[in-house]
Symmetry: C2
Subunit: 469 residues, 2 copies
Amino acid sequence: MKPEMSANIASYLEIHRQRMLDELCDLLRIPSVSADSKHRDDVRSAAQWLMERISELGLEPELWETRGHPVVFAEHLVDKNLPTLLMYGHYDVQPPDPLELWDTPPFEPTIKTTSIHPEGAIFARGACDDKGQMYMHIKALEVLKAQGGGLPCNIKLLIEGEEEVGSAHLAETIQEHRNRLDCDLVLISDTDMISRELPSICVGLRGLSYLEVRVDGPSRDLHSGMYGGAVDNPANVLARMIAKLHDDQGRIAIPGFYDEVAELSQQERAALSRAPFNENEYRESIGLSAVFGEAGYSVPERVSIRPSLDVNGMWSGYTGEGAKTVLPATAHAKISMRLVPDQNPRKLTELCANYLKQIAPPTVKVTITPHHGGMPYVAPLDTPAYQAASEAMQMTFGIEPVPVRGGGSIPIVPLFEELLGAKSLLMGFGLASDAIHSPNEHYGVFNFFKGIETLSVFLNQYSTSSERA
Amino acid sequence: MKPEMSANIASYLEIHRQRMLDELCDLLRIPSVSADSKHRDDVRSAAQWLMERISELGLEPELWETRGHPVVFAEHLVDKNLPTLLMYGHYDVQPPDPLELWDTPPFEPTIKTTSIHPEGAIFARGACDDKGQMYMHIKALEVLKAQGGGLPCNIKLLIEGEEEVGSAHLAETIQEHRNRLDCDLVLISDTDMISRELPSICVGLRGLSYLEVRVDGPSRDLHSGMYGGAVDNPANVLARMIAKLHDDQGRIAIPGFYDEVAELSQQERAALSRAPFNENEYRESIGLSAVFGEAGYSVPERVSIRPSLDVNGMWSGYTGEGAKTVLPATAHAKISMRLVPDQNPRKLTELCANYLKQIAPPTVKVTITPHHGGMPYVAPLDTPAYQAASEAMQMTFGIEPVPVRGGGSIPIVPLFEELLGAKSLLMGFGLASDAIHSPNEHYGVFNFFKGIETLSVFLNQYSTSSERA
């Protein structure tokens, strides 16, 4: 890319900075919580808002209905000899609970400075995950169009509204519109980088198994005085069952759990360990007195190349103010497992469900409801896409990015590979401190604009490098 | 008591049946939930409603303010040579949660027939515990006054509004009004009997220790993908801690827990085992596939002469619809222990709290908040009060009542002994199937009127037998 173009991009972003921020804040005001049926109309409003912004770019967006929330699609075909990039993102967000822990309301975006973000960060649910990051894609297209040369390659935008509920209907939508979705590469900005000073590219993701456990004991809530001692309490039973999911060494105790876990070579582990890590800073950033986990692996390894199991929610009996002496009739837990290659989510869900049923005492009935799952994923580094991304980041950040493996799951990444035959490039600009899925989620203003700039450069580099390849 | 008086009582109740039921329903309509601060005014309304009914009897009720909900007091002194009976009850009720399991609204009393109650039962929160049973006391006074002979002994009414929150301010109220509360016996109707065919008198209660546990891990909710595997999840930690509260044999595993438990002699166990018990019926009445508990003790023993430990409430993380991949910052449980002689609630709370802190891993912070507690209690059988109660029941039910020990706790019973030097007579008319503290709580219309009749007879018998004694 010519140096003057890079300067033009920076200058364009400077001029249009406030408007772009205002646009993002407009989107963040829409409470598009896909998991909560009472926000159904809000989710659709967010999709319609996006359609308007995409129309303003001269594209003709389409609203693809699904059995759940709709998908926004748009395409801009330049030249069939140029590569085609499918830019994926999602406009739905996680529920904002617990509301009382937000310093500012989750759907009233507020820009505040922090120690990490002296220029300010936008605080709102979805600021980083994924409205802020997804909107960088759209703004990168605006930037490139404004340069006068048009888009450097064929572009397809695919923005869904169900990522936070496991992309429940995306596979069938892709299959329905399969002929519109041919592409050479999927570009996703829904991950984070090491720091503002050290960019990184995510080259691996953990998979996900998620299930809900319900333990039924007596047919109704009982008085704990009249029945306590003769009735196996479902809350105590569930606690005993959850306790048996790990052994004393922090390893997961489900028989067969580790059977398909691919062990990395010392060389691979060494390559990944180049990413800087400071345990004290890590602990302090999340207010932890001590880290935890599987013996024999570093903290970064425990959250990337090793699987994990967590209770995501648990409830039983009386949870209000004061003391109620109830022996609850039921107890519930939401439990998820993060998986690594070559673990299969369906098989792991089954292993966990069978184990839970096996360890349940005969005094209760256990019901397991599987939620969505996702395959783990590893991306190759020796591709034109990775090279173009690496070059773009080197230009805009002034330093070569580090390849890292992420702990989260983006189930659609393996899905794109299966249904479209395309690899994904995970070029995210978030930070671990952005508090995604938590109260006070935010996204740095620096990250937002650096992302737009880098993505604009990347599109040029990718187009050129693909021609080279 | 003369036979014509017994007939007069029955006839009076027949004539005034509908009005008395209407009065009780009026009281049940007031949602006097003492645990919930938003019902503060409702609790007071219930006290005021009672004042009006007591005034109608010609007594002059007093509203004693406390630092919490008020106490209703009234007295009727006949003759200082006659014995003085303190009739205790409570007008507050348990929270109605979970609301969705009620067939009719908890504060809209509805009379419906059931297989146990062919004449109908009143369905409402507090129908049995304790509004229905407490109101029998007031109606028994009305019945005796209507007989023309006045009351057979000195009567004091003490009706509090904080029993369901551990009678938080009753001790200080008693101390403040100590000179008004001299009595020979406390009469309480807040327990149940074996069946409509076989009355019983409660001669023992379990004590209570209640505490709340809070486990704090990271300083905020985390993304379970980004952190899962390196952070000890507070929900998993709490589950492990709760699991360690029992051993594999269903015994409580807190060191020293059983040290002060008084073992009953074979003779005492044999006497108590005369109360009929059918395990199949018991299981079916609460929809249980199998009973549970300490080896070496029968089911009735496990819930009366043996202590127990139950989780009353437990919550952590995301408990809404769908799947949220959060690693929660905190986890909570409400845990209570039912105690037997000679266990001390304060000591047991401390033992449990220390044990929980001791078994907590260094990755979390554990905070324990003790709620109210209560001493266990055993009542003697060789007293004029027990004899009078036994005779009264024999007259109205046609069969001698069985002495039983109850599993619940009425912390004020040992409190009365300590502060007033008076024993309590626990003459309750509820049934185990009344679902107190549960959805669809109800109280048999038969039980309500049989209770009023029996209490009226008892007052006469007690007065006479005390003179004999």
